[in-house]
């Protein structure tokens, strides 16, 4: 999944550089959504998630 995030960001940068702004923004939006999704997965996953027991009540 991390590869997809970086792929979308790379595509956004390259399309932005080439002047294809609409495609670049679409890639950037995809990257943002994927990154947020991956972040939430990382912190909530029971297998891979990072827990913070000291701030749980």
């Amino acid at each position: 999944m991390m590869v997809a995030v970086f792929l979308a960001m790379t595509a956004a940068l390259i399309f932005g550089w080439l002047g294809r702004r609409d495609i670049a923004i679409a890639c950037l939006a995809a990257c943002f959504v994927l990154a947020v999704w991956l972040f939430l997965f990382e912190i909530y996953s029971p297998d891979y998630g990072f827990r913070m027991p000291w701030i749980r009540t």
Binding site: M2, V3, M9, T10, G19, R21, A35, V36, F39
Partner: protein, 198 residues
Amino acid sequence: MARKSLISASAQKTLAQLNYIYLLLMMLVIACILTAAMTLQYRYGELPCPLCLLQRVALFGVAFGIMQNFRQGFSYQNTGFSLMFTILLLVVSIRQTLLDIYPRPGHDYIGSAVFGIHMPVWSILIAATILIAYALKMSVLGGDEYLEKANIGKFPVLRRIADILSVILIALCVVNLVSAFVQCGFGQCHTSGYKLLP
């Protein structure tokens, strides 16, 4: 409207130039930070954790917004992109710092400390600095209306430097893409080693 008439054409050009220099400096700092992160990874073998990689992505997102100002002309939409990814950087880095703020056996901070500060804490400082930088730019250099008329093409030297920095940032992102693929494959990322390397 009254404000526009008070600023002469030469002052508008100077303000536009300062604005572009400011944005260039921001892009340069981001490129340096990302290069430093990759140096730590390849030179000292400190593999990035998943949240660390997301922080790199957020920094590239900030750079995207700045780059677009040089490629497509100034727009507040570009500033919005940069701020959106700055907030992402802030949220991810605060979460990671909270994760390690309380000492637990086997759960140390990822990577070595730089000037006594660990990477996620640096990320918080970087995100806060970007927010402060934008706040300063907007309040000191004004409403930016003049930038719509002052295309970057009027400043060829700045344009050239921006092009070079943009290519460097794109190259860094491509290297990160390949690196993430070698480290994570198509699955979860781990700091224990590169998944695709023996």
